[in-house]
Symmetry: C2
Subunit: 380 residues, 2 copies
């Protein structure tokens, strides 16, 4: 569906696409369905702007996104603005400023387009639609679990089957390594080895924590087995507290949604830029790309928060197909009241703008399934 | 509601705002309601990207918007991209390229955010949401009228009362002046005088066409009277054809929607940048800003097209207030099935994430209208 596959004289920049009729409608309906589920759980919509001053857009957690942010000069203030690469940090700004007086926990939702600079030479979308939730002002397993459960319900609404939430805790393994008394060099190499899931290098570099790290490496998989393996390890108290949090979150989710597939990867480090607690990635069977991701972080550098962002473009590849309105050709001169009645019944009416010799042919030419004739619908 | 009125450490650039809970929800619902009306009339949604190469974004009709376009370097292609100031030209590009083989008339709709550079020293929104339709590939009074009628139905869906569509025909008065045999200097001064509606200057500068121009100046007003005045004027044949088009469009609209308020201003020139035929501006009583605007133009420089864009931010100031979901506080430990049932009934459930001493107090604190207690709702 890339515009480059089409005979198209007006090429778009790499990573930017047009969504055509069916796709655009599916995306819009998907976003509204997901936002509706969020609203049912008390998440209220906010809509930050596409551009902000660089200083506020990249404040706190936003710093991690600096390299992915397009910048523009504001001719009015002569200050640099950024085109948002992500909405989470914007929602955190709203929570910390205009909604600082609102009761906590604060539940906010958002949907909109973001733009990233992209990685040179690597293909990939650069305009990314996000639809997500943020649960701000509370730090508990129940809060982490709520974010997963609400997102799971949103995916169920789109009839996406075989969904899996992969839980991780990057700060757990980072702390474990940080406190192992390794040299800076070894520590960096070890993080790299863990990130590559290179068991041999972990054994070689891990020193005292090599056995625990190796066991954690092998523990990744379905939540129950992974948590059982973690439970059997001898962990420093601070690390044990983190492992317990992982266990508690899984317990809350499993009690509420026993059929939801959960996996735990205790050594996953990849792609988490500003998170401080449990992280989650959402997958669906048959989809290579993740459907969404989220986790616990500090909103505006100070307030406990957990959020999750779904990616509507990816959701739609996994979602049940939408049903489009059936189109009825309404020849010129037909009574408007009949056409209005068809619209009320869920049809799309396509008005003939001038008289034609053969209404059925004209309806067919315009992609209609029916033509209106004397109050009757003729199937084409 | 400007962020500058709030004690806010994170000021946004002038012209960019956060929409908070109620406003953001109202905007989203308003857009979907309007898009639904468009879909009922066979307008299919497309979603062009936020950024395009400058060359394609400002192609043809888009040139008029060049000064209002923020530009960015694409590090991938080293070409300049523009942040769209308008979606009409993007839809025209899609129609002329990827949808060049689709049957005409082509009915497309779109909704999304645009960004304009703004006018120095003049306040005003710089992020502008648009929701509109384009009817491409046909040039007739019936087509012009359809655009007005569909937009009017969208406004009625939002229960916006006292709507007025102001029709004009900038090319009519421009042609009249162009063909009057005036010097370049006089012509420019005359256009300026017409634009200011300065009757004295029009009389002084208009030469032979001064009487006709003056009559047209005074004709502006309710459609019937304006058209009657136009009918009585002695116009060159090409100009008469344009006046007849105005008359025909009004006749089609009046036959379909006799209660819709229509005005005609035959000398309106202001703000029309790329239009070639009839133009329309939408107002509602009590709203200073226009709710939308549109008109006839050449899509991608070659194909007949007529479109109209509504401005959701302005619509919402005129629309009936939305009804938000009533919020129910659900204390921790309540059966999930009861909460799910409440959500199905249209409530928003706000989950208690830990036990509290006084559920009613907690519910009140969280802005809930009810608290759930043993399958019962207690009003707060």
């Amino acid at each position: 569906m890339s515009p480059f596959e089409e005979p198209n004289t007006a090429l778009l920049p790499s990573g930017f696409i047009d969504l055509l009729q069916h796709e655009a409608e599916a995306e819009a309906r998907g976003i509204e369905a997901v936002m509706d589920v969020f609203a049912r759980h008390g998440y209220e919509r906010v809509r930050p702007p596409l551009l902000e001053f660089e200083a506020s857009l990249l404040h706190g957690a936003g710093q991690a996104l600096s390299e992915q942010t397009f910048r523009l000069m504001d001719p009015e203030s002569r200050r640099m603005m950024g085109l948002r690469p992500d909405m989470t940090t914007q929602v955190a700004r709203i929570a910390a400023t205009r909604l600082v007086g609102s009761p906590r926990p604060l539940r906010l939702s958002y949907a909109g387009a973001c733009v990233v600079v992209g990685t040179p030479g690597r293909e990939g979308e650069r305009q990314i639609t996000q639809a997500g939730i943020e649960l701000i002002g509370v730090d508990s397993a129940a809060a982490d679990a709520e974010v997963v459960l609400v997102a799971a319900e949103a995916l169920a609404r789109l009839r996406i089957a075989h969904v899996s939430f992969d839980l991780s805790y990057p700060a757990l393994v980072q702390s474990l390594i940080a406190e192992a008394g390794l040299s800076d060099m070894t520590r960096a190499q070890l993080v790299h080895a863990v990130d590559r899931k290179d068991a041999a290098a972990v054994t070689e570099l891990g020193g005292e924590i090599a056995p625990v790290l190796t066991a954690m490496l092998h523990a990744a998989g379905p939540a129950d087995a992974a948590l059982a393996a973690l439970a059997g390890l001898d962990l420093p108290p601070a690390i044990r507290t983190m492992a317990d949090r992982l266990r508690d979150v899984v317990a809350v989710i499993a009690a509420r949604a026993p059929d939801l597939r959960l996996t735990v990867d205790p050594v996953e480090l990849r792609g988490w830029q500003y998170h401080t607690g449990i992280c989650m990635t959402v997958f669906a069977r048959g989809q290579r790309e993740e459907l969404g991701r989220g986790g616990r972080y500090l909103a505006y550098d100070e307030e406990a928060a957990c959020g999750l962002t779904l990616r509507p473009e990816v959701l739609l590849r996994a979602a049940a197909p939408i049903e489009l309105r059936r189109r009825v050709y309404v020849p010129a001169g037909m009574p408007e009241s009949v056409a209005a009645c068809l619209r009320e019944k869920g049809y799309a009416t396509v008005a003939g703008l001038s008289a034609v010799d053969d209404s059925q042919n004209e309806g067919r030419r315009l992609g209609c399934a029916y033509v209106l004739s004397n109050d009757d619908l003729i199937e084409l």
